[in-house]
Symmetry: C2
Subunit: 340 residues, 2 copies
């Protein structure tokens, strides 16, 4: 069945492709081992056809106007001949029942457009799990010919880092008020941003201008250190509600893409992201296997109590648990004379 699904994804038209896309994503999100094996096969088959989109991450607190902006932007891009996929990473959605994109009515016009594909956040618990499904869904959308992928996230925990780690360009949407920028600096989100958009700039132009100056100087300080920059992150003001500034936004995105591509940064970023993703999944898998180990399960509650009550050093407890799972740590055996 897999070959026909691959065929429908790569070359199917309209409803045929859309149905295959939905099926493929359901397969990815399944936790059945059999399905997981099929999903891996599917991904491997589609991988050579993926990667041809521009991947844009958009983050901002609730109320900043992400949905309005993405709808306006999406329709604008479709008008330019693109096909647009909108995905979301919202690790809180399993609790809240899907706060972002759960309700397609928030992007009324875009959601019914046949050149758009909107998918709410998977609701499978941990951020790592949610991010993994979204990354895989992105690859499948690309194979199906969507050449712009927008990944939306609210600022929950480390979700911005996850989204910046799967996109070519990370856009931070800010409100024009003081303090918003300090929060972003503090959370380490500001330094992820390739572009900062001050939305609702029409409401208080003075505040927007002040915010822009502050953010610009903050970005300058952070970019002095660290990576040699081909691109100096920019700050623009717009009003998504009034449709003002969307073309300017897109010009900035293309300028970014071109400068990165010319410098070979785009390919390097994706390669780096893929390896980081692999290690992230390995770490998660190791911790999961550890917690599910029968010996560990038997010892853990008692050792936690011992550590809490100061009966055993935390590092001693850690070593006992690792031994219990059968991790044979290969200690360096240099010739140290007997000390005690």
């Amino acid at each position: 069945m897999l070959p026909s699904m691959v065929e429908a994804l790569l070359r199917g038209e309209g409803a045929v492709q859309r149905r295959a896309l939905a099926k493929a994503i359901t397969l990815l999100e399944s936790t059945l081992p059999d399905h997981r094996a099929q999903a891996d096969e599917l991904l491997t088959a589609l991988l050579p056809h993926s990667g041809k989109s521009l991947r844009i991450g958009i983050s901002g607190v609730p109320g900043v106007g992400k949905s309005t902006f993405i709808e306006t932007l999406g329709l604008h891009l479709i008008g330019l001949g693109h096909r647009v996929a909108v995905l979301a990473v919202d690790p809180s959605s399993s609790v809240s029942g899907g706060s972002i994109l759960g309700d397609k009515t928030r992007m009324e016009k875009l959601s019914v457009n046949e050149r758009a594909f909107i998918r709410p956040s998977p609701s499978s618990g941990t951020l790592g799990g949610v991010a993994e499904k979204t990354r895989e869904t992105m690859l499948i959308c690309e194979a199906a010919g969507y050449d712009i992928v927008i990944v939306e996230t609210v600022g929950v925990g480390q979700s911005e880092t996850a989204v910046a780690g799967m996109t070519d360009m990370f856009v931070l949407m800010q409100l024009p008020n003081a303090g918003d920028d300090l929060q972003a600096i503090k959370k380490g989100v500001m330094e992820l941003a390739d572009l900062v958009v001050i939305n609702k700039a029409d409401i208080d132009e003075d505040a927007a201008t002040r915010a822009r100056a502050q953010i610009t100087s903050a970005l300058r300080i952070f970019s002095q250190q660290g990576r040699a920059l081909v691109w100096a992150p920019k700050v623009i003001q717009l009003s998504a509600l009034q449709g003002d500034g969307v073309q300017r936004f897109w010009d900035e995105v293309l300028a970014f893409r071109n400068s990165q591509q010319a410098a070979g940064e785009l390919a390097a970023r994706r390669q780096h992201q893929a390896l980081a993703w692999m290690w992230e999944r390995i770490e998660t898998g190791l911790k999961q296997a550890f917690r599910e180990d029968a010996q560990v399960k038997a010892l853990l509650p008692g050792l936690v109590k011992d550590v809490e009550q100061g009966r055993i050093a935390a590092s001693t407890a850690a070593r006992r648990l690792l031994d219990a799972q059968g991790n044979t740590l290969n200690n360096a055996t240099n010739n140290v004379p007997n000390i005690v």
Copy 2:
């Protein structure tokens, strides 16, 4: 031999105890499995006698004047009747040969005082490893009767977080110039601080006053969210070189300690730290065992290349490697109908 070492540490005088302390730390830092087992035994024996010190973390960039300040503070505290241990966490010391505290001449008077114990950073590579040795050394110093433990660190990588995670109070030393505070905010260090000290305030009083106002407002923004605060982090100015402000610093430390103790925060913080430390060591151990697994070693280079060149999805590669190590992940086996 262990009982005599314990005896010398707990009740030995002068040079006898000092020699036992040096031996115990060498034992902790040994990588021989036998030594490690003895070290765990030693820690477990000493643990009931540890924990009775005030643990103070002090961080700041090179040049901020940490050594001068710690020497002045240490001598002041010895004058008040305390015994002072000064440890360091410097993950770069294995490369640089010990940039902080490597040279005891930097604390000339304190290092020769018999009521002080100064130990340079262990130079065993990773931050986690360095931090673990320092934590264990701290416990042993406490058992030996040092009632003030100062842990110094420079701002290398995540070392501030490691030090804040092993101390009762975290002090950030800043220079009186703009930008220094934004750096600290960005790195997430500002929010760790229980007290911010602006040193060298005598050099440029205006700048110091401005910096103090900026940091105070930043601290206010960050403390509004998150933890219910018993203690609002403070900012003080001083000049370590002129010995000015050391008593005021100590008054702030005691005020902090008292407010935390009254609220039960001190014990809660230590319990939380111990468990976090246990999990940190477990994660490190799991990753180490994974990387040293023969099957993983055989597959890893090929899979890394496949991921880099886009021949296999990163998550697929991660699953293959986990399987290779024999991690039997217990996938939830709910009844999902066949999709493909």
